[in-house]
């Protein structure tokens, strides 16, 4: 923990407490005085935005549970009960449903910021890997939450996703039966998903704690991609970044509130207003938008096991990213070739998302296949090759030199 605060509390009661449990000096050192690179731009505010979204999801979720019933015969009706009868139930439910979507908006921006500025590079490998685990846990949480209203899309989403595990030879079908607690998705499935959907956010909170801990060991990366060298390179976290984060959080929440109040079901599927029916699959089932790129990869491969493996690999590969990219400069600002490949990757991921929403046939299938291939080529071929052939632009001597210019630094 670089820059541990040496602050002495003046108030004798506070000092008495802090000598026995140094919680106040911890806050002082990590959240007030914490030395933060002076050049962080607004892309760095998404960490704070994500923490805010986690708190919103926890609070709205805890109160929704006071009115929801996890049983196949009552779940659908209890959600409608929340929407119509419960005081402010409509607001809490729309905040929770859209909160999940905006959680993913923020996490995708956060991840791509890390990719652009090389935030996964040494010494931040563990920080990055914990982040990948958080992302995977978030996806599991969101998936199980979407099953709870027990509409048609909830039900068939649960069927398709749990069946992914049936692709594994021999043990696959036992795993699926074990996940279901029956011979198909049914009441036991709904009840365990409810239990886990309540548990996982607290696991997420614990993972976020580890993520922030790792961050506070290495300090923030920054747009220059060079490490902090002197006091001149940093500012105290408060008030400089508390205010910057707060401003970004307010702007982000404005957009979120726009959806909650004016278009709460824009990101949903109308078919989920129909009660789950195990005998009839809707004509066109699609997952929530934030899963579409992965769904496109799954469908792009004509073999079941291979499709499942490719989809899971697209996440697992992120764990190896710190060792696949060995370029001399971290930040894309100083990497003219990588910068172009970064934007190509963004386009490829967006394309996968669009392809995932289309029926898996004809030219969209071809597009999904090419985009899936490129996703893996980017990480397994382009990044290692660029590490050797790319000549980075000259790096500044320090962060303060980059900010203030050579003369003043």
């Amino acid at each position: 923990m670089s820059g541990h605060s040496a602050y002495e509390f003046k108030n004798p009661v506070v000092r008495w407490l802090d000598e026995r449990l140094p919680i106040l000096s911890l806050v002082r050192g990590q959240l007030v005085d914490f030395p933060t690179p002076r050049n962080l731009n607004y892309w760095w505010t998404f960490g704070g935005i994500l923490a805010t979204m986690l708190v919103i999801q926890l609070l709205t979720g805890i109160v929704l549970v006071m009115h929801y019933t996890p049983h196949t015969s009552m779940a659908f009706d209890s959600v409608e009960h929340i929407m119509r009868d419960v005081n402010w139930g409509w607001l809490l439910r729309w905040m929770h449903a859209n909160g999940a979507a905006f959680f993913f908006v923020a996490v995708y921006i956060h991840i791509f910021r890390g990719l652009y500025y090389g935030s996964y590079r040494s010494p931040r490998e563990i920080l990055w890997m914990i982040g990948v685990i958080i992302f995977i846990a978030m996806m599991a949480t969101a998936f199980m939450g979407y099953v709870l209203p027990w509409g048609q899309m909830s039900y068939w989403g649960a069927v398709v996703i749990t069946n992914l595990f049936s692709a594994f030879p021999i043990v696959g079908k036992y795993i699926v039966t074990w996940l279901w607690g029956g011979f198909t998705v049914g009441n036991p499935t709904l009840q365990r998903f409810f239990s886990l959907h309540y548990l996982l956010p607290f696991v997420l909170a614990a993972l976020v704690f580890l993520h922030v801990w790792a961050l506070h060991i290495t300090g923030n990366n920054n747009p220059e991609g060079i490490e902090v060298k002197s006091k001149e390179d940093t500012l105290p976290f408060h008030p400089y970044y508390t205010m910057k984060d707060l401003f970004a959080i307010v702007v982000f929440l404005l957009v979120y509130a726009g959806f909650v109040f004016y278009s709460p079901w824009y990101l949903g599927h109308h078919i989920n207003f129909e009660h789950a029916n195990p005998l009839s699959t809707p004509a066109h089932i699609v997952p929530e938008w934030y899963f579409l790129p992965f769904y496109a990869m799954l469908r792009a491969i004509p073999n079941k096991l291979a499709g499942v493996l490719v989809m899971f690999s697209s996440l697992i590969i992120l764990f190896f990213l710190p060792w696949l990219d060995r370029a001399r400069a971290k930040s894309a600002r100083y990497r003219p070739l990588y910068r172009q490949f970064f934007w190509l990757l963004v386009i490829v991921c967006l394309t996968l998302g669009i392809a995932g929403a289309q029926p898996a046939e004809g030219s969209w299938l071809l597009v999904a296949r090419l985009a899936t291939a490129w996703y893996f080529i980017h990480f397994l071929v382009i990044l290692p090759v660029l590490s050797f052939i790319e000549k980075p632009r000259d790096l500044p001597a320090s962060i303060s030199e980059a900010v203030l210019g050579k003369d003043k630094a």
Binding site: W156, V159, V160, T162, N163, L164, S166, T177, W178, L179, W180, G181, G182, F183, T184, G186, P188, R192, P278, L279, S280, T281, P282, A283, H284, I285, R299, I301, P302, N303, K304, L305, G307, P359, A360, E361
Partner: protein, 191 residues
């Protein structure tokens, strides 16, 4: 003398370490198992009775979907044309050459006859009984649809022929045939 005593001590201690560790590991595994196994199907789920079905009211070309163990089961009275088409298909054209009929040995060939055989070896090629769950990711396929006018899965585009055998798309296996038996010429018991 000292060495001997030391050695004896060490090996005795090693034994105690290993024994304690083994008991601890086995004990932990035993304690974890109830927490894992509670998620498997419970007695009320396993107790689901078999389902009887009367085939007589089913006209040629008609299908019904009934529920068995919470799963959809397709029962189709196939037309002569459909049976002809299914019989003419050479086994080499099939993506999955195995019958997938729980009433037959696991390696039975996916001939049309093997797709309509019940648990006692009775064959009535008019009636095709199969679990209506796509072997890809578990959606319910649509009947009389797709390139072979058999079944077509709307989720990821798997195409089955008129004997429920996979012909195109991502599904790895033919539609499963549940265990069933004719009790009379027009009456079956599934399960």
């Amino acid at each position: 003398m000292t060495t001997t005593v030391d050695n004896a001590d060490v090996s005795r201690r090693d034994f105690l370490y290993i024994a304690t560790g083994a008991v601890g590991t086995v004990g932990t595994a035993l304690a974890i198992w109830p927490f894992v196994d509670q998620m498997n199907p419970d007695a009320s789920v396993l107790a689901l009775a078999s389902t009887e079905f009367d085939l007589a009211p089913l006209e040629e070309g008609q299908s019904v979907t009934i529920k068995w163990r919470g799963k959809p089961v397709f029962i189709r009275h196939r037309t002569k044309k459909e049976i002809e088409k299914a019989k003419k298909t050479p086994l080499s054209d099939l993506k999955d050459p195995i019958a997938r009929n729980l009433n037959l040995p696991a390696d039975a060939k996916a001939t049309d006859e093997n797709r309509v055989k019940d648990g006692a070896g009775k064959v009535n090629e008019k009636y095709l009984v199969q679990i209506g769950i796509c072997t890809h990711l578990g959606c319910v396929p649509l009947g009389e649809a797709g390139e072979y006018k058999g079944w077509f899965c709307p989720c990821h585009g798997s195409v089955y022929d008129t004997a429920g055998r996979i012909r195109k798309g991502p599904a790895p296996r033919n539609l499963d045939i549940p265990p069933y038996k004719y009790t009379t010429d027009t009456q079956i018991v599934i399960g």
